[in-house]
Symmetry: C2
Subunit: 274 residues, 2 copies
């Protein structure tokens, strides 16, 4: 499977992706799911991909070597687009183009050929923007209320994003948040795996050298993996246990609900359920 996450806060953007692909449990490979496009001082863009690998690789190839055919997009590439919105449209056209080429055969073979992309960055003169591009080539944009996108195995890593991330989160915290989110996912889903590609982009920079490939030897990520589990255990232990002795408890558990009764036990065969 895949886990990719991208965050946009006021101070910048963070992109992180795992690199495991699988076609059955005995066919596990490492493919990196991030591409960084940069023309320093002019534009900085990152593409993360999930889903069918042949589709997403074809999309990436097309973005680089061909002009994408399609209405209104003949002359636009991600390199001459004047806005991230236009660049996202080029990407959507590339996705549709690959589906036109490969979709019918894959569909006929009953193969899952979904492909979902995250695309974000900044073009000179415009604010940073972050998009989620669907298999059908249309896309949505992150906003202040929802300032991150995930693709692939998203559930395990979502709670920490929901709890920690707001647009005012400092960039370093946002990067830590992305790595904790990935750690939670790695822990629960074997089909998400190292190495992780991490890119941090500072608002307005129009380039970034803050790129790292994180494997099992990375000191910072190893610390996160160890500390986060330990801190979660400490947090868990610091919370009072429930007590069935209402008198003794600071936060009693056994108080009647105003609207609902405690379940009636069924105590004899033939007795009806309440």
């Amino acid at each position: 499977m895949t886990y990719c996450v991208a965050l946009k806060v006021g101070a910048g953007m963070v992109f992180a992706s795992d690199s495991r692909t699988n076609a059955g449990f005995d066919q596990i490979s490492t493919f990196r799911k991030m591409v960084v496009y940069e023309r320093p001082g002019d534009r900085f863009m990152v593409l993360l991909s999930s889903g069918n690998l042949s589709i997403s690789q074809s999309v990436r190839e097309i973005l680089q070597v061909e002009r994408v055919p399609g209405p209104g997009a003949e002359a636009t590439t991600i390199w001459n687009a004047t806005s991230m919105f236009d660049a996202a449209r080029v990407l959507g056209q590339a996705v549709r183009h690959v589906y036109d080429l490969d979709g019918p055969s894959l569909r006929a073979a009953g193969i899952d050929y979904g492909c979902t992309l995250i695309f974000g960055g900044q073009i000179a003169g415009e604010a940073m923007r972050l998009f989620l591009v669907y298999s059908t080539g249309n896309f949505i944009e992150a906003t202040a209320e929802t300032c991150y996108f995930q693709i692939g195995e998203s559930k395990y890593g979502k709670p920490v994003l929901d709890r920690m991330l707001v647009p005012s989160t400092p960039l370093a915290d946002a990067a830590k948040c992305a790595l904790v989110s990935i750690d939670s996912t790695l822990k629960s889903n074997l089909s998400v795996g190292l190495p992780i590609d991490l890119v941090v982009y500072r608002e307005g920079a129009l380039h970034s050298d803050d790129m790292v490939c994180i494997d099992e030897d990375n000191p910072y990520f190893s610390m996160i993996r160890e500390s986060w589990g330990q801190r979660l255990r400490e947090a868990f232990e610091s919370i009072d246990n429930p007590s069935w002795d209402a008198g003794a408890a600071r936060y009693p558990l056994e108080v009647p609900s105003r609207r609902y009764d405690v379940l009636t036990k069924i105590t004899d065969p033939g007795e009806k359920m309440i």
Copy 2:
């Protein structure tokens, strides 16, 4: 949707279930998903259900008012079964019976009629046992390595179980663990909702009065909801931020991977991806 979880530790068992059902977002209802069967001193059993509500309600009804037809099960009910394994077989037969009755019509209408059950408890003379019963009536049993089962929306609430729960966990901690797991699920999935039914069973007791229906006014659960989020934030903040300045960091982030290069940026149109 649904979230139910059952834990078996050495000291006892914990069962917890939410009570939201939905048939589309504008058809949200409250149905409780737990049934407690008890004959004090002889047996104590709890059934949790997820999936198609009409199927699971029919299964529950059949368990109480009819003998389940089926090979070898004619004379066995959950009330006269001499082992939890036999009781689980009765439950599996009941599931198959309902599928025989309702399955063809539901299938013809293209309706999802899955139904997954958790069934656990203790019968005098035997150890506690915990089963997960599939739509097809077969079942698996929890072991020391995997001492819990979840049904429904399981992913958000799984990390805390994986990190905190072992067979030696005290019963009160196990109950807290179940409630934290439910809190995480409630926070991330709107289709899981209050009230929560919670039952705690002490090993060997063969009855339990530790049953509560938890709604938004419950002091203990409100404390969990507030404290857990707060403690997670503190845990998060207590971890060092990543630093791109390798010299200054206790746990440097930017160290080369031994096996993989940092991604090569694509800097010009037409240049090939590395």
